[in-house]
């Protein structure tokens, strides 16, 4: 059991080590990199199955018991996120086989890719706040390298903003961790859930705000999102897709974990603030996208907008809202990453990401157009695609707590999302190719299509056979709302009883 919980981190790290040693032997590196991503996906699936049957799994590193050692905890949320990361890792690894140039591969793309996967998995699984910081930094370093790999000028220009914003966020996170340790004397998250209620409310709220800013920069919420649309469209498509799909969601995951397990002393204030942030993030992101005319820049602004929906679910702080936020997050990772990958195929045919220089793809390649429609209209929330159900759950949670203004905002933002997706559809697919643009005779390599088709199928499955996904989201919502099970799994029965006695159980 211990092996299974450590594997999502150790496996990619070991792969990265071997890939470094194989530096320069591209064919072997490619095979190993892809195969390892697939194995990681399988391991993650086994982990989720095990969590579903046995409940929350815990491992204490080095045999040091919590709260003294470092714990890894897999509840349903963590296991689902690790599985999603495995799916994305595999999809992107396959896509990169044709998308990435040999120069970047020689510069160390493959090992860094696996270090990134390890960092993301570590952030999802750790049950210790300082350890979370360490995983954040690991995935940051890997993402810095991947983002600027190749040193193209627009990459450097976007990369420097990405690096600057994220380094400041890391400093703030560490500041918060230091102060939290000073106030409570522990950094184990379950132990913190037990000890934070003893901290004076004012101090607890101040700490919550520091963490809100630190996680908020990483999750790209308003007003801390500017670095995302400045950088995510610059690297190769495969890397863009992984970043756009997965990386900001690590920040959202940290918000979800932090503001359900730790910072719940003054819910009216913290989660009320989150509701405002959610609304403004949605609107600003979607308006920013409306002003853009570059395929990947439009998508980047939409990432920001859709983070708003996830934060909205968190702000409601009900089982339905939290489950909805997670359902939305998973749907969004698949759909968003898929759109990035489709943008790459569109570029393969038409040679550009600029909508002005794209066109005629529907006549040229109907299958690509269908794939785009599935992902784009799912993102815009068309029934019966996955995005519709995701929005429905979050908005129903809004009905429950009678947050009418936020519900109204989220509905109108949905319309604007549709506008952006229709804009891409009209410019790139429906209207004829502009003069001077010669569409490349296809078909594009199957390795580019395979992950796109797989992700589209997942989107369809989440839409047409949504029952099992809902059941899982419901369970996650319940687990996040009442963290007693989490505390029991990490610290044992006595601590859980104390937690309930404090009124921590909801």
């Amino acid at each position: 059991m211990s092996a299974l919980l450590v594997a999502p981190v150790v496996w990619p790290l070991a792969t990265a080590a071997i890939l470094v040693l194989l530096q320069g032997r591209l064919p072997i590196q490619r095979t190993l990199s892809t195969a390892s991503a697939a194995v990681q996906l399988a391991l993650a699936a086994v982990l989720l199955a095990r969590v579903a049957t046995q409940g929350i799994l815990v491992v204490q590193f080095g045999g040091w018991d919590a709260p003294f050692g470092i714990s890894f905890v897999a509840d349903h949320l963590s296991a689902v996120m690790v599985l999603v990361n495995g799916i994305m890792g595999t999809a992107v690894a396959v896509y990169a086989l044709r998308d990435l140039d040999a120069d970047r591969e020689r510069l160390g793309y493959h090992p860094m890719f696996h270090v990134l996967l390890a960092g993301v998995n570590g952030a999802f699984l750790t049950g210790d706040l300082f350890n979370l910081y360490v995983w954040f930094e690991l995935l940051l370093i890997a993402s810095f390298v991947l983002l600027t790999l190749g040193n193209r000028r627009e990459q450097l220009e976007g990369g420097i903003k990405y690096v600057a914003a994220n380094l400041v966020a890391s400093m703030l996170l560490l500041t918060g961790i230091g102060l939290l340790y000073g106030a409570t004397g522990t950094l184990n998250m379950a132990d913190l859930a037990l000890k934070l209620p003893l901290v004076p409310d004012g101090l607890a709220t101040t700490l919550a705000m520091i963490f809100l800013v630190a996680f908020g920069i990483k999750a790209a919420i308003f007003p801390l999102f500017f670095w995302l649309p400045a950088s995510y469209h610059t690297p190769p498509v495969a890397i863009s897709a992984l970043f756009g799909g997965m990386l900001t969601k690590v920040g959202v995951y940290a918000l979800l974990r932090g503001f359900t397990l730790l910072f719940v002393a003054d819910v009216a204030l913290t989660h009320g603030l989150l509701a405002w942030i959610a609304g403004i993030t949605m609107v600003v992101g979607v308006l920013g996208a409306a002003a853009q005319t570059e395929f990947r820049k439009i998508l980047s602004f939409h990432i920001v907008s859709q983070i708003g929906y996830m934060v909205m679910g968190l702000a409601f702080f009900t089982p339905l809202g939290l489950g909805g936020a997670v359902f939305y997050m998973v749907h969004n990772i698949f759909a968003k990453a898929n759109l990035f990958l489709i943008a790459g195929i569109a570029r393969w045919y038409a040679g550009s990401f600029e909508l002005k220089k794209l066109g005629g793809l529907y006549r040229h390649r109907p299958l690509l157009a269908v794939l785009f429609v599935i992902a784009a209209f799912s993102l815009a929330g068309f029934p019966p695609l996955s995005g519709f159900w995701a929005k429905l759950v979050v908005i129903r949670a809004g009905f429950e707590v009678q947050a009418w203004p936020l519900v109204a905002v989220s509905l109108s933002v949905g319309l604007l999302t549709l506008y952006s997706m229709t804009k891409i559809w009209l410019a790139a697919f429906w209207s004829p190719a502009p003069a001077g643009v010669e569409l490349r005779a296809g078909p594009a390599p199957a390795l580019l299509y395979a992950p796109v088709v797989a992700l589209a199928l997942l989107t369809l499955a989440m839409g047409f056979a949504s029952a099992p996904f809902f059941a899982l989201a419901e369970r996650i919502g319940a687990e996040l709302t009442d963290p007693t099970g989490y505390v029991r799994a990490v610290l044992g029965e006595a601590a859980a009883a104390a937690f309930v006695a404090q009124g921590g159980a909801r």
Partner: protein, 136 residues
């Protein structure tokens, strides 16, 4: 940099630095020191050599590419963690083997292996940066 004084003094200094780095690495478990600090000192020695004789000379002296050091170092840390698990304990659990050498005892352990891994990673990463900065 073509300075006779620097070049002449560099060679003995490097020997001392490398010895200190190994000393720091080995005493690190119970006393101040460890893989990171030892690695820094070793990297400082190599950086000094690169400054005095140029990046090419430093790369020749090193013989292996810095990336390989990073790879072996990462592999060593992962193996150190896994050994604990192979022994049926949790990941990263420390295992100790005490071997009698004459009347002294030699203590080998997975934390030592882990530290050696850290040492190699630190040396490799810093050299990678130093060499790429010195090359221009």
């Amino acid at each position: 940099m073509k300075s006779l004084i620097l070049r002449t003094t560099t060679r003995p200094i490097i020997v001392v630095l490398l010895l200190i780095s190994i000393f720091l690495l080995l005493r690190g478990h119970d006393l101040p020191g460890g893989g990171f600090i030892g690695g820094l000192v070793a990297a400082a020695a190599a950086a000094l050599y690169a400054i005095a004789f140029g990046a090419d000379a430093a790369a020749r002296l090193l013989r292996v590419r810095p990336e390989l050091l990073v790879g072996w170092g990462m592999a060593a840390t992962v193996v150190a963690g896994l050994l604990g698990m192979l022994a049926g304990r949790e990941f990263l659990t420390g295992l100790w083997w005490v071997i009698a050498v004459g009347d002294q005892e030699l203590k080998l352990s997975t934390p030592l292996l882990f530290d050696v891994g850290v040492y190699l990673v630190v040396v490799g990463v810093i050299l990678r940066f130093v060499l790429s900065l010195e090359e221009r």
